[in-house]
């Protein structure tokens, strides 16, 4: 599916959902607008703006060179998913392990994922940066961050 169509459909769906949800609220009239009127209008405008995008995507001609550009843009999506997965796991552990361990974990795992595969050097660098971040945020700026299991 073309980028144009995908984007148009995405916003069309968001517009429809907004209209449906806001129509369940009190709409009132333009003299005394209810809670749902403004989002209802926004949803309608969004539908109105997305429809031409969808039509252009479905029936419009593909621009010259667009296929090549798309091919160039095909990158390493797996990396993005893995990056988000590692980040999400670290965030899930944030409260329980505390900021110090969290920062070490996230740095070590993400640097490893991006190709820093030397375990020792990666470990040392992550430890140094995590210590620096801890000193700056917790000790210097006195920001209350989760202490976690080690109580740091």
């Amino acid at each position: 599916m073309k980028k144009e169509t995908t984007g148009g459909i995405l916003f069309l769906v968001i517009g429809l959902i907004t209209v449906i949800l806001s129509s369940r609220m009190h709409l009132g009239d333009f003299r005394m607008a209810g809670t749902g009127l403004f989002p209802f209008c926004l949803g309608m405008v969004l539908i109105g703006l997305s429809l031409p995008i969808v039509f252009r995507g479905l029936f419009g001609e593909r621009k010259e060179g667009e296929a090549e550009i798309d091919a160039q843009h095909k990158g390493h999506k797996k990396n993005v998913f893995a990056f988000l997965l590692f980040t999400s796991v670290s965030v899930l552990l944030f409260n329980s392990v505390g900021f110090a361990i969290f920062s070490f974990l996230i740095l070590f795992s993400l640097m490893w994922l991006l190709g820093f595969r030397d375990w020792v050097r990666n470990g040392i660098l992550s430890l140094l940066v995590a210590t620096g971040a801890y000193m700056v945020f917790v000790k210097l700026l006195k920001i209350p961050l989760p202490k976690g299991i080690i109580g740091l």
């Binding site: 333009f30 003299r31 809670t35 403004f38 944030f94 900021f99 991006l114 961050l145």
Partner: protein, 507 residues
């Protein structure tokens, strides 16, 4: 005018306190560092550092964030000249002659003229800000809800028109931002909207989470998608030979700097990515009036001095509509508006009277910031350029750690981090689909204000929509909005017809 100067002097009293000088210095340094890093422009920089300002008073916080804004604009020139890599979009034009000068061993004069030009033009623009912002604010005191509604609609359409991409797509993003802005409590009745029973959503979606997500995390994810070889690349920073420009360089540049200062200031008042437009306009003007137009593109110093000066002048001018009307006409000022609101300052016609210490303190700090940047940029350029040696495989995880920590500090809430990550994914997807994130942010910030103005106007007129065209100021904004909406469409149709006719003749 005398009153403005008096208040400016008092502003220096505020800006020159050790604390504020420190935050101004920090903002300028951090902004320069951010400007040097390709990809991380002023928008991402300000968004990332808003949480770091929570412990500060509003004046210090905005002094620091404004410093980041114009510091990033300064820093962007360094990589343009040294490596032909623009640190942010407004520095693209500087690459043309700046990099050529660097190749000829004249990187020093090119960078120095960037700093000197930015300083002179920035200072001239701040003078304009001192006199124009209070005048505009005074005029805006007569604005009622219909005027503000029409002004905001004009702002949306004008900004959507000049963000570079498709007008429809930009408007879609602005509407999406406004829809996100409706999550939480209804600003008029106090009823819950789109909260699905969640207490967390009652206070709405955290602006900082959206800003960091869309720009910071979105940028990181887009970089992560690149091929692994990119992460290993090491950039060799060229050595700087003679740092200072010669007398002849200065003579050739001074006219370009002064012209660019005025041009940049004028363009900065117009909605849109003013610095980008100002740099292009300045380059065109300088090439047109130059006695040696053939040198442009081959390392003409005017081709560096003009655009860089225009860039900074436009940045400072963009503060006028932000402070005087409370309407940001450019994406970085939209983020600054969010930061101002977070710190309890509501910019608009009454802000200068209600918060004079804040307003004049921030203006005075801009003079100091410009001076600090001049001092920073001349001797520390080689140091800033060295930042580029940090490989992306180390830099990206560091940015991620900083985003998460910064986001957590806002409300000590893990939910905010999840919202930020969600908007990071959205920012990444939107990039892939060629949608700009800036109009969404503007919609999110201005959406609630627009809704209140819209509902109040219709209450005043008993539901009659002619209120938006029956009052002169509101009518002029409506007409301006329609011009911005339909004139580009008209020109597009004319171009298409010409192309069809041309094809017909050839066929």
């Amino acid at each position: 005018m005398i009153e403005s100067l008096n208040q400016l002097l008092q502003g220096f009293g505020t800006a020159l306190t050790p604390n504020n000088v420190f935050y101004c210095l920090m903002g300028a340094i951090v902004g320069t560092l951010i400007g040097v890093l390709p990809g991380l422009g002023p928008i991402a920089g300000i968004a990332l550092l808003i949480p770091a300002t929570y412990g500060l008073n509003p004046t210090s916080a905005i002094i620091m964030l404004a410093g980041i804004y114009y510091g990033a604009m300064y820093g962007g020139s360094t990589t343009s000249v040294l490596l032909n890599v623009p640190g942010e979009t407004a520095s693209v034009i500087t690459c043309i002659d700046g990099y050529k000068m660097a190749q000829k061993g004249r990187a020093g004069p090119a960078l120095a003229i960037c700093a000197i030009g930015s300083f002179i033009a920035g200072t001239i623009a701040i003078f304009g800000l001192v006199f124009f912002a209070p005048l505009l604010a005074e005029a805006a005191l007569s604005f009622g809800p219909p005027e503000f509604f029409s002004l905001m609609v004009f702002g949306f359409i004008a900004l959507s028109n000049v963000t570079g991409g498709s007008l429809t797509k930009s408007l879609v993003m602005a509407i999406l931002g406004m829809i996100i802005g409706t999550i939480g409590l209804d600003p008029v009745t106090g009823d819950a909207r789109f909260t699905f029973g969640s207490a967390y959503l009652l206070s709405g979606i955290e602006f900082v989470a959206v800003a960091i997500g869309l720009f910071g995390i979105g940028e990181v994810l887009a970089n992560v998608e690149q091929r692994p070889e990119v992460f290993e690349q090491k950039i060799v920073v060229p050595r700087l030979r003679e740092l200072y420009p010669s007398l002849s360089d200065l003579k050739r540049s001074i006219g370009a700097i002064l012209r660019a200062a005025v041009l940049g200031f004028g363009v900065g008042l117009i909605p849109g990515p003013a610095p980008v437009i100002a740099t292009y306009a300045s380059y065109m003007v300088e090439r047109k009036i130059s006695k040696h137009p053939e040198e442009f593109g081959q390392g003409a110093i005017e081709g560096v001095a003009g655009p860089e000066s225009a860039n900074n002048s436009a940045c400072q001018a963009a503060f006028i509509p932000l402070f005087a009307l409370g309407i940001p006409f450019a994406p970085p000022t939209a983020i600054l508006l969010g930061a101002l609101l977070i710190h309890g300052i509501v910019p608009g016609p009454t802000m200068i009277k209600e918060h004079p210490t804040f307003f004049w303190g921030v203006i005075a700090s801009m003079y100091i910031g410009n001076f600090v940047l001049l001092l920073l940029n001349l001797p520390f350029v080689p140091f800033f350029a060295n930042i580029l040696r940090i490989p992306k495989k180390i830099l990206l995880p560091l940015v991620m750690l900083f985003c998460i920590t910064g986001m957590f500090t806002v409300n000590n809430s893990i939910y905010d981090i999840w919202i930020m990550l969600l908007f990071g994914v959205l920012g990444y997807v939107l990039r892939k689909l060629d949608y700009e994130g800036a109009p969404l942010l503007l919609g999110l910030v201005l959406g609630p204000k627009l809704e209140v103005a819209f509902r109040q106007s219709l209450m005043l007129s008993h539901g009659n929509f002619t209120i938006f065209i029956s009052r002169p100021i509101s009518l002029s904004f409506t007409v301006a909005a329609l011009i911005f909406l339909f004139v580009p469409l008209f020109f597009r149709m004319v171009r298409r017809n010409r192309a069809i006719k041309k094809l017909g003749k050839e066929g």
